[in-house]
Symmetry: D2
Subunit: 339 residues, 4 copies
């Protein structure tokens, strides 16, 4: 029973099969292959708009690549104080942008508070040569606390940047989990709400290693620059077909949504089970596949003794992540062990 | 019959199988997995020394990562004028080093001439604050002309840098092809000849997408920095086991050497066939799996009509690359078509 | 009556004279001149220790140069949320470090709160590859609110970093003003309290344009790298003697302390005068030559009508800066006009 | 008798006076002062066009700042192999551009050969994602060998880039010396010949420390970005009036041209004198104030014994630089001593 991270989970067998199936004969390299083209076409259907896409091997890479074409070297990227791009990427956004400044904002449950956003926008002037101007607002969905920004919450924040030459980035490492939780369409949660570029993650939801940067209509003209950055960053994999093949299988028949639904359902069951234990406090709404809880040490010890792996956060709370392959009986036996 | 590039070739079936086999259960992420550890142990045997290794998704990435820990931002990297790091990586080495200067050197058959090396070393002073100092010599083996530096040639060039605080980088995107061609050991061609870090490529020789940066004993203390760069560059793949698994299968039973031998053998046959055609001139020694030739247009047209894909270089010459899966009968029918 | 900024003030006549006096005959360039050497010797006396110094044309430059040798590209620089390096330098520290991350901390009167410092140190792990590690604590003295950290306050904050491989940077654009206010020695306020490098500003206190980066004994070995950065950043002025000459005259006979005392005295008088006006609130302790006050608009209007220039901050408060040449009678007539 | 470099010379007394004259009262900082505005207006007259200008403290800074707005991070800057930007600026162009690639070209007397330019343009494709595209051609005038590109030579080279999205940079550290040597107008030698941006140096020709980046009509829209870079690079000096004042005095009454004429005249005399000495070979046309000569050691020894300072180049040749204040009698006594 592994609840450490969805990155420790295996890949879905259909994606493994797809890789084998893609291994036939010669194929154009560096993203010019037929599968990549098919995935882009499929994404246009899913997102109901013109778009451009390219692949990368990690969420850190896709975030950094996207930000590098959204934000100039001397711009400011606004993000939540706990954002992955700020806390967990070893400064990849700073590296790829050439030194942009990430300004962290407060907000409960890892959602940027509107008041914090308003304050920083009031503080950072536009057109003042001494001050790095705001150029990007980055929203994670799921957030780092496992909560989901609703369509309205995304739009409300994006709107605040409307009168600036600024763009909206969405870190969607767990986009599928947010989407099925909210029950809206991919278009509604992204470009229709003001998002210009999405980092669309598959790795945590069944892929071997496949992330996509999706540019929506407002920033299509940056695609050539994005490809140049992909190459310059070493992310233009020679045999890109094997990354594209993962996406094709993952999107096929809405497998990606099914996998996210499964993970979310297990998280809901686990949260319910944990909430019933004495002294356990669930710290954030469980909108996706992550649970943050304060768990009394004896309970946590019993869970570990029952075979469950999970992280203890520095503040003493625990993070438990379910994945596409977490089984309902595992949840049950974990809760049973914990009692 | 595809001779465009070994990056257009499929992966060897054993590597596909290995990926499937690695897809069992949960596994530590970000390179902490058991397979990665086994690959490192295996590489220690192969290279007969202590070493550290990490993986990347492209040769551009592995070169840039390696150079970023070998060369400071204000250093000079000496390389051949036709080096991949200089011509074909969209400035990835400049990006990862923070702006190092690549100084291109001349030399027939894409091997750096000793006289050119001596001249530049005489021109670039050490310890002069106005001038970027030489910090790295980068050698490609195979070279960009498909030739192989011998052990003596590597050592001779590496020696020239001995009295500077400079290091030797080897771009080994086709290291296996050079090695089997030369008939020496991996250790002889690298650290014993003065190489400090090797970019060891598997993608062009049967992998789906797997490159390794190998640090030899002289630079082991830079491994922590290398890992930080891997993360910062977005190359620390979450499910690294799938990259490691490719290496494990590729190294197993010396498959990597067999595949390189096959590709080289086809190139030798193809070169012999081409050389017998009227007006064809082979431009460089064929030490590995690449042939550069001046081919009269009627001949080239017949080859294309016979189904062969290959690149026409800007100078009018043709490049033909064989791969691990090129068949001897394809060579024969190509030559037959060309006559 | 100009209270906009001490950067709008003229230079002290003795520095103008010194420049003329330095203009005799030929002199070694790029900082190798005799005057530069004499200034370094004089600074050793003033700071009572071995040190290395180099000059730059702006405080932004000296801060960025210093930070570039204190912090690696993937490190974190802790600073107050209102720090000049964070708010007013267009990302120069990010640029010169190659993309370091500035993490802003809270604290009244622009002094970093110990609790905020403790919290961030608890949150940012050491030796975790995913997270940029803390490498520098930057303290401004005077702070951006015109307050002075005492020796004890500097030492207390510096101590918190002791068990990390981290260094202490002091932005001393108004170091002289802090020093005379506190009545301690330059050594006590810097290296004896744990400061590794000081950006020592003269421009705001009587110079034409002269800032110094001072490396204390703990980081002397970084001087060669600092010089390389100075050159690479374009700050190694060919005729450096004219910058050095300013410093020599400014330090001679403790002119620098006299000028700072004059500016501080005027600020004290001005603050006292303002405090006596109806509805005026002085927002921060006036430790140096800057006053931040909430001034009712009618009062502010009368001050402006009386000929006083000063900045209105976005939050509605006013900043008034005195300089070495502000006269006591100007203060009196300003207050008289304001009543 | 100092012939080491024009950077070791003093400033012209009129510029010292101008600095004193500028030191009256308060003045807007960071380049918003009245003198800066007057200099820009004067430059419009001199260059007969709309233009924007900003100042920097060194030629390295002005080159790097200019290049940073002419060339993207992943672009190529073509320059002569001996160009100051390539050899003598510690990689400042790479730093300021974010890692652009300088590709060195051959050519006698430090002028880029047309054939070398044509070859590299043929080799570097446009619109190929793997290859850094050519974005800037940089010409030094005077060149590093003290020769001057004629108007036709500048135009011929600039024309070669016409069909690319590329721009022309001129390193004019000794622009005045080239101009008076050629007898053309500033407009003819720059924008009329295709130059987009000029780094216009005063420091080597009588200033204390003042260089200007001049943007011509074709790139005026990059001025805002240039100012941001100036700030970010630490080159927006607070009391900019003192830099502007130097330029004002230097341009006033065409002092700058008189000073260049004087230096050039001395160089012509010195070259003539040297050429008459047994065994001395003048290596390049003496178009400005620099002489490169092969001087037999006994002759050189006598020159040194006569009190002359000059640099010995690594290849054994000598460089002698005259300055605005070199006197004709110094030349005579040097030659007399050398006989």
């Amino acid at each position: 029973m592994n609840f450490l991270s969805d990155t420790t989970a295996p890949a879905h067998p259909k994606l493994i099969e797809a890789i084998g199936a893609a291994n036939t004969g010669f194929e154009a390299s560096y993203g010019q292959d037929a599968i990549s083209a098919r995935v882009e076409a499929r994404l246009r259907e899913i997102f109901e708009c013109e778009l451009k896409v390219l692949f990368a091997v990690s969420g850190t890479a896709s975030n950094a690549l996207a930000l590098s074409v959204l934000c100039p070297a001397d711009g400011v990227i606004l993000c939540h104080d706990e954002a992955h791009i700020h806390r967990d990427e070893r400064g990849a956004p700073e590296f790829y942008t050439g030194g942009a400044k990430l300004v962290p904002l407060a907000g409960a449950h890892a959602k940027i508070e509107l008041s914090a956003l308003d304050r920083v926008l009031a503080e950072i002037p536009e057109g003042f040569v001494h001050t790095s101007p705001v150029r990007v607002l980055s929203l994670s969905n799921l957030t780092e606390s496992g909560t989901a920004y609703t369509v309205a919450e995304v739009a409300e924040r994006a709107d605040r940047l409307k009168h600036r030459p600024a763009l909206i980035h969405m870190d969607g490492a767990r986009f599928a989990n947010a989407l099925v939780s909210l029950g809206c369409t991919p278009a509604e949660l992204t470009w229709k709400a003001g998002v210009d570029a999405l980092c669309f993650g598959a790795t945590k939801n069944g892929a071997l290693g496949a992330e996509a940067v999706v540019l929506f209509p407002s920033v299509l003209d940056r695609f050539e620059a994005l490809q140049a950055r992909q190459k310059r960053g070493g992310h233009m994999a020679p045999k890109m077909r094997f990354m594209a093949a993962q996406f094709e299988a993952w999107l096929d028949g809405d497998l990606w949504l099914d996998l996210a639904r499964a993970a979310n359902a297990r998280a809901t069951e686990l949260a319910a089970g944990l909430a019933g234990l004495p002294g356990v406090e669930i710290l954030h709404p469980v909108d996706g596949n992550e649970i943050f809880a304060r768990i009394p040490e004896p309970v946590a010890a019993r869970m570990r003794a029952g075979g469950a792996g999970f992280y203890q956060w520095p503040d003493g709370s625990a993070r438990l992540v379910t994945s596409w392959c977490t089984r309902a009986d595992e949840i049950k036996s974990l809760i049973a062990a914990a009692v």
